[in-house]
Point group: C2
Chain length 335, copies 2
DNA sequence: GGCCTCGGTCGAAGCGCTTCGACTCCACTC
DNA sequence: GAGTGGAGTCGAAGCGCTTCGACCGAGGCC
């Protein structure tokens, strides 16, 4: 491995000069800079990450904690993770992948070892056990998701209350009066995952305002579960004409079952989904939906981290505004 | 941050003794060990990762390159990535997440900076441009996937040729004589992704052996693409009674379209999928399938890395044996 | 013309850890 | 009773980098 010292010798300057060429923290004459850069090229020099971290006490690594569970829709997680990794690189950072398995201990380990300059936590619960540790580790952190107490924390998330409201508004505007909400798996609510509860809150509030009746049912993915849930919904509320679905794995089963039951979409029932664009456009009926901006969330969280790391950031909650796109699955309520 | 020296002072020993307690590389008396461990606990000491990497020239980090593209089935990627991260931890390693975006340059950067002790590459193409760089970086590496030239490389993958053969064998055994293969998106073949081509090779070889006629068609995911592909298949081979599907995003559309066309599964046509268990069991018809052992692949690749890093490994290609599980989507060919 | 300023460069002191050789006991052996 | 060997500990020398203060000319100023 080529070292700084070798580059310095090759270029006929001191080691510190090479370091300053690399970091740009002091001005360097054009001729020296060129000479040094040429030597770097020629020798194929790469700074040693460990030495750099030790000397500067900054590792240029951001730790990303992804949930281990797979009851969430995986592609969204992946899209966020990839967006985080990609935009981290554009800011000169690498990303360390931590799974939830290690649990809160991971926070302590990473903070203690100075392995990462900052952490991004995904899948934050309302009362997340990692948060106290995080707060008194003093490390820079950004959450994707919204805990109940956000004091001293920076959070990025889709505004799920507004999302829920938007869905109801759309259906109410079309004249629907009885709306069923097909939610995430029951376990998601039991964990008190913020986004799921907040969506329902938003839905209820707007429903009250617009005079829509709401029936909310958690639902596992897959056909069997959906069949059961759907049956019970129509038993309880035969007049249901609108569906709001917040569970990607339930979308296709729902459309299928409705079709099998002879209920046409959107003539007899309207469906609005909260899901990634890809799911909405590739479904058997092109879905009216509110998109989950996974990329944007990943990107923004990195930008927040970088801002805080460079002293510019403030603790704040950034809620991304939901956008509803009308497609083929929603229409006027039948008379 | 607490340092080794502070722990040493607190325990009344020298710094090197603390280091040896931590690493176990020299014998330490029980009483000293206890005293040191107690001090570590009490002070909340965590070794500094950078210093450790610098002094020992090992970072205890494994870099994982995941593909950026999303034309592959994302959950499988994610499952592998998570399995890698999880099993890496059980061996004392952390995982650095690299996206394909940076391309081959990432290999150079990581190897040059000694940021990672080893690399795991996913989504390897037959003639992958990262491989030459990898070879002469001299770094430890394991590929998930199989390039055309494996010399000097360790690879882990499902045995896709055997997988293809297994599917044909199953259908042939049930009496099917005309089988259509619904493949990955055309782009996947154009990239010469090993697994896709190898599957088809395995299918063709076994088809020849068993006297089955094969029609192979790449297919994008989604309903529209599947409808077109399916139409063309039955135009060309009206006698088709068996399907092998290697494209998760095509599974559900295929089942649906068959149903709509009045072709019953498995009475009129049989379907065998190559997909994760979850897809197979959650589909509208429980699918006879060969599972993609994502977890196993992730785990094995880490084990190979650790073996090589501790001097035990040998360069070798490890192909996991495919397992076909019969479920409700395949049956005897109609007479 | 002396003085100050400032751009450009260097030397040296660490950053916190690992590891090698050396040293000290102490229990044996012959 | 000197010699041997192993267990247990220490000191010191780095690992490769960043960064601080110092130094040295070259202008600009009065």
């Amino acid at each position: 491995m080529v070292t700084l010292a070798e580059v310095a010798q090759h270029a006929g300057v001191s080691a510190s000069t090479v370091s300053y060429v690399l970091s740009g923290k002091r001005s360097i004459s054009a001729s020296t800079r060129e000479r040094v850069e040429h030597s770097i090229q020629q020798l194929g020099y790469h700074p040693n990450a460990g030495a750099r971290a030790l000397a500067s006490s900054r590792s240029n690594i951001i730790a990303l904690m992804v949930p281990l569970r797979t009851d969430m829709y995986v592609p969204v997680m992946m899209e966020i993770a990839i967006a985080v990794a990609t935009s981290a690189r554009t800011h000169g950072y690498d990303v360390l992948l931590l799974t939830g398995e290690e649990g809160p201990a991971a926070v302590r380990r990473i903070a203690g070892s100075s392995l990462a300059d900052a952490m991004i936590l995904m899948d934050v619960e309302l009362h997340d056990e990692r948060l106290p540790l995080l707060r008194d580790s003093g490390r820079t952190a950004v959450l994707i998701g919204l805990p109940s107490d956000t004091s001293g924390l920076t959070c990025v998330d889709l505004d799920f209350e507004a999302t829920g409201a938007l869905c109801v508004d759309h259906l109410a505007g079309l004249g629907h009066r009885e709306v069923a909400v097909i939610g995430e798996a029951a376990a998601v609510y039991e964990r008190h995952t913020g986004f799921a509860e907040r969506t329902v809150d938003g839905i209820r509030a707007k429903a009250q305002e617009t005079g829509v009746r709401i029936l909310h049912r958690p639902c596992e993915g897959g056909y069997a579960a959906m069949a059961g849930t759907l049956g019970r919904i129509f038993d309880e509320r035969p007049g249901t004409t609108g569906f709001i679905v917040q569970n990607e794995a339930a979308v296709e089963p729902l459309l299928n079952l409705l079709q099998q039951q002879g209920r046409a979409v959107p003539e007899d029932v309207s469906v609005v989904a909260i899901c990634p664009e890809q799911v909405a456009t590739q479904a058997s009926v092109r879905l009216t939906s509110v998109a989950i901006p996974a990329q944007e969330m990943g990107r923004r969280s990195v930008e927040q981290v970088v801002a805080k790391l460079t002293g510019r950031g403030t603790d704040e909650v950034e809620l991304l505004e939901p956008v509803l796109t009308v497609r083929a699955s929603s229409g006027p309520a039948p008379v």
